[in-house]
């Protein structure tokens, strides 16, 4: 590992100031991804600014029924929080389906959102990767791409975003609060991550010196009946081939409210607006669910290794909606 400087930030102002003034400095949260990447030599910061001592660890109910989550809340604690479990079960389930118990005890909400892709070519220095080295090319496209994107990819990058939590947040219309020396701004979660286009190394709209300080969830009654289904190659501790975050409300057989997002299929958590449009106001039947899935996946394209994910996503969307329908929670 390359030698680096370390600063433990006493407050948010110091943290963002140091990162904005020190060249090549990065925030250190739980470190579950960043430290790995440093060991692999993919991330090579000169200075780490440890933010884990900052007072961003509260989970607070907001006036009007929303919830504000401090960026340093650990994943395990967020998953177990009674407010989250009752009002946004999809978020709790998404968190618990991610990583391992040990990692969830350490990983933070803010860090989870800005973790990097697990594309193996991103990790392998001898491979071409436009994320790691802009302009180098993408060896994943002609290589092994079983876990890669089928939506929103480009000829420059087909990596997926690995987070489960972010998929649930995408379904829940979450808003992310960012802090920098220039002040505070709020960005919808859906606008935080970027599709690769011609600049896959630019993964979010964050500037290098912006710190995620909180995530806010709006009051969202439909989320009380919500579920997260993660499909993967083993029962635990594996990234999603496909995942679905869904919230559904049905009255008299008709969908009156719905939120749907997909994971494992794109460079960002993928809100399924097309499917939602089909579903809203339609009858809650398997046929409609299939039509909604097909609408969302009409634009999906696969490569030899990952074309199956389109069919898998279609089936997982239907399975998840059916589960919400039949277990009675959507009524």
């Amino acid at each position: 590992m390359r030698p680096f400087g370390y600063v433990s930030a006493p407050d948010v102002a110091t943290a963002v100031r140091v990162v904005s003034t020190e060249p090549n400095a990065k925030f250190l949260g739980g470190g579950t991804n960043l430290v790995d990447l440093m060991r692999e030599g993919v991330e090579r910061p000169d200075t780490l600014v440890d933010v884990t001592g900052l007072p961003l660890t509260a989970i607070e109910e907001l006036p009007g029924g929303g919830v504000r989550i401090g960026a340093l809340v650990r994943n395990a604690r967020l998953a177990a929080d009674p407010l989250i479990r009752s009002r946004y079960p999809v978020l709790s389930r998404a968190l618990l389906s991610g990583a391992s118990a040990q990692l969830r005890n350490v990983a933070t909400v803010g860090g989870n959102l800005v973790q990097r892709t697990r594309c193996p070519y991103f990790y392998d220095h001898a491979s071409a990767c436009n994320k790691r080295e802009p302009g180098a090319g993408c060896d994943a496209i002609g290589g092994v791409n079983r876990n890669h994107a089928v939506l929103g990819a480009s000829e420059h990058c087909i990596a997926t975003h690995p987070s489960d939590m972010a998929v649930a947040l995408a379904a829940l219309d979450a808003v992310v609060e960012l802090e920098s020396v220039r002040g505070t701004r709020r960005v919808p979660l859906l606008d935080l991550h970027r599709l690769p286009g011609e600049t896959p190394h630019v993964e979010t709209v964050l500037t290098a010196d912006e710190l995620i300080t909180a995530v806010e969830l709006p009051h969202l009654p439909v989320a009380a009946a919500s579920h997260y289904r993660k499909v993967r190659d083993r029962a635990s501790y594996a990234f999603a081939l496909v995942s679905v975050a869904a919230a559904l409300h049905v009255r008299e057989g008709v969908v009156t409210d719905v939120r749907l997002a997909l994971g494992g299929v794109a460079a960002k958590p993928w809100r399924a607006h097309q499917a939602e449009r089909v579903l809203l106001g339609a009858e809650a039947t398997e046929e409609v669910f299939l039509r909604a899935a097909d609408a969302e996946l009409a634009a999906a394209t696969g490569l030899p290794d990952n074309t199956f994910k389109i069919e898998l996503a279609r089936r997982t969307i239907v399975a998840t909606l059916q589960e919400l329908l039949t277990d009675g929670s959507a009524a």
Binding site: P3, H125, A126, D139, G143, V144, R234, S236, L312
Partner: protein
């Protein structure tokens, strides 16, 4: 006898292991040791044209960087060095991940960082990474360790042509890696031309021999220490290049050097189970009696090594069949050499046990009944009766426990909610070796016994079973015996591999301990100060550390008293040969397959095994649980993936090379027949470790077929294959 053998005695080193006091080879402190780190090739085929080490040499803490330019010339050892070449001896590149330089530094972090600063230029050619890309016809390699790769019995092609029923299918499995939790580690410490190696090895003596050959040294100049091992599974059976390269570097640097492979390096430097194809043609009568088996297998070989490690023993020996023709072929690829991986015969066993299941459906015969009809107690290769084989008992015991008779045979007929339920079974079988060994016993003045033998405990419970045997033979509590193993300076034993350990060392340990007991009894009855003076030795029994007159229990002495009066320790040795053979069993598995998503869950497993005498029920059960767990991995997820353009491993870590997690493994009911084998000198025990995985992949695949009506012949059975 205390009767410890056969009981579920807990591991004698268990406390040391769970409290972290057990010292594994990389834990041994070696004063002044440098840290080594290997620079490995990014190309798979070609040659090194230039290496610039200046930046690495300028990094803080770096003591040396050695390449082929600095390394001494070494001799390529024969088996068990299954590599065919030693790196850093020239410029040729045979696979990605081949070491091209070694960096020595004061700290591990310095060595790692400096290794990334070594600039290597290559001339590269397009490599061949998988059998599909071989671009060559498979060929029949020469015999490996005197075993030919082609085997015939009777006239298989004719019998196949005349068979009433035929089944033909192609089966395949990918490259897989052992992935022991403990990475390979070696520390080389030279004192003149004497070398001490702290080594993660399944064979201290084998390592000593291979390294001696490489350096042209007499073996007695080398001492190899491996007191504990964090898993081997065959990966630490052979000697691999990093051990030799590191020892050479330590000699050049005149400092001890410790080298620990990274997880990624373990995917190219320590062997693997070769990618494998199997074409099976089976002929049978309408009643299901096998009349012909024709099998051609294709295994990945390399340009430097053509040994085939995935043998087809089960195909030729497991069932009675008069006409068999097996060809074990290979193709040469530009990846690392393969080697033994527990359990080598599993690979071909999968095809055989799946083909039998396919035959059972063709015939409309229950799969278990089909196996009973083809059962044999005759060794198919020698024609001799097998001394002890209780496979039929295994079938009955496990089938009853599983409830097999309640099975609805129709595929896809049993459903619970969103899931199909299927039941499958397969026979388990594996060979075991028996390798000559010698043990010694020393009874000290304190009356306690030290058992010494140069074997290893690779996590299977060997150390505990040595203590059980020694304590029983001496008639002392297990707390009064101590096993010293994992040191090449000890009395000779061989690899902990090929399921050979218990079969090889039990007799010698027992003999040495019995001789020590007899010696102490002899001392007592000859000693006027002993209450047993003058008693015939045949009238003395030993129990709980006491020597007791069998007909007058009040007359007794103790080991401690006898040996301390004698004034010097009692030392004995023992050596007893044994014969190789097979251990058998059966595995029944229940799976649930999600009707919509194709995800497979294994929900229930029952096994029964015949391994002769069960030496320790607890450790034997551990072997079965490990085998079932790994078999689930084989069946459903394990898969080393190569980039076909570069022949580099794409998933060289435990986050993307998936092995089962606890949630993938159901409760496993482990049953044992437990009848001593009269032909075994290992107290009636047979070698066993590798048997309980062999049938698991086929049992799961057969259960998936029963659940869904879909036959997946290409492992692993990932859910995309069932959509």
């Amino acid at each position: 006898m205390n009767g410890l053998v056969g009981r579920p005695v807990e591991r004698v080193e268990g406390h040391a292991k769970v409290t972290g006091t057990a010292r594994y080879p990389a834990d041994d402190p070696v004063p002044g040791a440098l840290h080594g780190f290997l620079v490995t090739s990014t190309v798979a085929r070609g040659e090194v044209t230039d290496i610039d080490t200046s930046a690495a040499l300028g990094h803080p803490g770096v003591v040396a960087v050695y390449t082929h330019r600095e390394m001494p010339r070494l001799t390529v050892p024969p088996f068990p060095y299954p590599k065919g070449f030693i790196p850093l001896q020239g410029t040729a590149i045979h696979h990605a991940g081949q070491p091209v330089a070694i960096v020595l530094a004061e700290t591990l972090e310095q060595a790692q960082e400096a290794a990334s600063l070594v600039q290597v230029r290559y001339r590269s050619e397009p490599p061949r990474a998988v059998i599909d890309d071989a671009g060559q016809q498979p060929y029949l390699p020469p015999p490996f360790r005197d075993r030919p790769n082609e085997f015939t019995r009777g006239d298989a092609s004719r019998a196949l042509a005349q068979a009433e029923v035929r089944v033909e299918a192609h089966y395949s499995s990918p490259t897989r890696h052992h992935n022991p939790i403990e990475p390979h580690a070696t520390t080389a410490h030279w004192d003149g031309d004497r070398l001490t190696l702290h080594e993660t090895t399944q064979g201290v003596n084998v390592t000593r021999g291979v390294v001696a050959t490489a350096f042209g040294l007499p073996a007695d100049r080398i001492r190899v220490l491996a007191p504990y091992l964090g898993g081997g599974f065959g990966a630490k059976g052979p000697v691999w290049p990093h051990t030799i390269v590191n020892a050479a570097a330590a000699r050049l640097a005149r400092r001890p050097v410790r080298l620990v492979l990274s997880r990624a390096q373990m995917f190219t430097l320590t062997g693997h189970r070769a990618e494998f194809r199997q074409h099976l043609k089976i002929g049978a009568t309408r009643e299901g009696r096998l009349t012909a088996i024709v099998e051609t297998t294709t295994a990945q070989l390399t340009t430097t090594e053509e040994s085939i490690f995935n043998e087809s023993d089960s195909t030729s020996t497991l069932y009675t069949c008069p006409n068999v023709h097996i060809r074990q072929e290979g193709v040469r690829l530009d990846i690392a050499t393969s080697s033994y991986m527990r359990s080598p015969e599993t690979t071909a066993h999968f095809g055989l046990e799946t083909a039998l299941d396919e035959l059972s459906w063709v015939l409309g015969v229950d799969p278990l009944e089909l196996r009973r009809r083809n059962h044999t107690d005759i060794d198919q290769e020698t024609g001799l009766r097998i001394a002890s084989k209780h496979l039929l008992d295994c079938y009955t015991t496990a089938a009853d426990a599983f409830g097999w008779s309640r099975r609805n045979p129709a595929p896809g007929a049993t459903r619970d909610g969103d899931e199909y339920i299927g039941w499958g079974m397969a026979t388990e079988a594996h060979t075991f070796s028996a390798i000559p060994a010698t043990a010694s016993v020393t009874i000290g003045l304190d009356g306690k016994a030290v058992l010494r033998i140069a074997t290893q405990d690779i996590g299977t419970g060997t150390r505990t079973i040595i203590c059980q045997i020694g304590a029983d033979a001496l008639g002392v509590p297990i707390t009064d015996v101590h096993a010293v193993i994992g040191d090449s300076a000890l009395p000779n034993a061989s690899l902990s591999a090929a399921s050979a350990t218990i079969a090889s060392i039990s007799g010698p340990v027992d003999r040495a301990a019995r001789t020590a007991r007899d010696t102490v009894v002899g001392l007592a009855v000859a000693d006027r100060r002993s209450p047993l003076f003058g008693v015939p030795v045949s009238d003395v029994e030993t129990r709980h550390g006491h020597l007791i007159h069998t007909r007058d229990q009040a007359r007794r002495d103790t080991y401690r008293a006898v040996v301390s009066r004698a004034g010097k320790p009692v030392e004995t040795t023992g050596s007893v040969p044994n014969v190789p053979g097979h251990s058998y069993g059966v595995v029944f598995a229940e799976v649930r397959v999600h009707a919509r998503l194709g995800a497979v869950r294994v929900t229930r497993v029952v096994t029964a095994h015949d391994m002769g005498r069960v030496m320790n029920r607890r450790t034997a059960r551990g072997q079965v649980l490990g085998g079932v767990t790994w078999g689930i991995g084989h069946a459903l997820m394990e898969h080393t993936v190569y980039d076909r353009a570069t022949a580099r491993v794409v998933n060289p870590n435990l986050s993307t090379y998936l092995v089962p997690v606890c949630a993938d493994v159901p409760s496993v009911e482990t049953l044992f027949v437990d009848r001593p084998d009269p032909s075994s000198t290992a107290l009636g025990a047979r070698g066993f470790g590798e048997t309980p995985i062999t049938g698991v992949p086929a049992a799961i695949g057969n259960a998936v077929y029963h659940a869904t009506g879909r036959r997946v012949r290409d492992l692993p059975i990932t859910q995309d294959k069932l959509l």
